[in-house]
Subunit: 108 residues, 2 copies
């Protein structure tokens, strides 16, 4: 996992904050990796960043609302969303946000 190299704003961010249920760890990780691979093939995908400690945060970046809608409705992703509710998440919160500006810092 590296940082997403997104273009100049405006574009969209989907902020997915979650608390996992215990168990099904291997299955969950496999599905998360599969979803990341699939998302990268979607039209309008700009990048993804993810980290988990007590809570999980995944932020994916998208060209526009249309590309977010298409990803939400993608058939394998629909199954993952269903399994997420049934088996993997105790709680989650999804926020759709318009990135208006950004700034970067690098030592190199």
């Amino acid at each position: 996992m590296s940082l997403a190299n997104t273009p100049k704003p405006p574009y969209y961010a989907v902020i997915f904050s979650s608390i996992r249920l215990e168990g099904n760890q291997d299955e969950y990780i496999q599905m998360a990796l599969k979803m990341e691979r699939l998302a990268k093939k979607q039209n309008g995908f700009l990048g993804i960043e993810s980290a988990r400690e007590e809570i999980g945060l995944t932020v994916s970046y998208w060209k526009d609302l249309k590309s977010i809608k298409e990803w939400k409705e993608q058939i394998d992703h629909q199954l993952a969303q269903k399994l997420g509710k049934e088996k993997w998440y105790n709680y989650y919160h999804t926020r759709i946000a318009l990135v208006e500006r950004d700034y970067r810092f690098s030592t190199t």
Copy 2:
């Protein structure tokens, strides 16, 4: 760290993605905790979520751009930003985003 219980959109998210330099770990954690305590006292603060693995993600939520600007200019936070560039971060990317809509799922 729990999930942020934010109000109904619209409001703002500051997405802070980072890669740490090695070393100064204790000092960094103390400062991060101090900044979290201070942010919670700021006008317009709505919540914060954070996780770190290979990369760090911190998303803080704010009422409006004015409250984000005031937090950016808060004097102790200014020092932390300076130290961040000098000692703690190899790379970071800050995005200011308008949360337009959200949805939640809970098992309880």
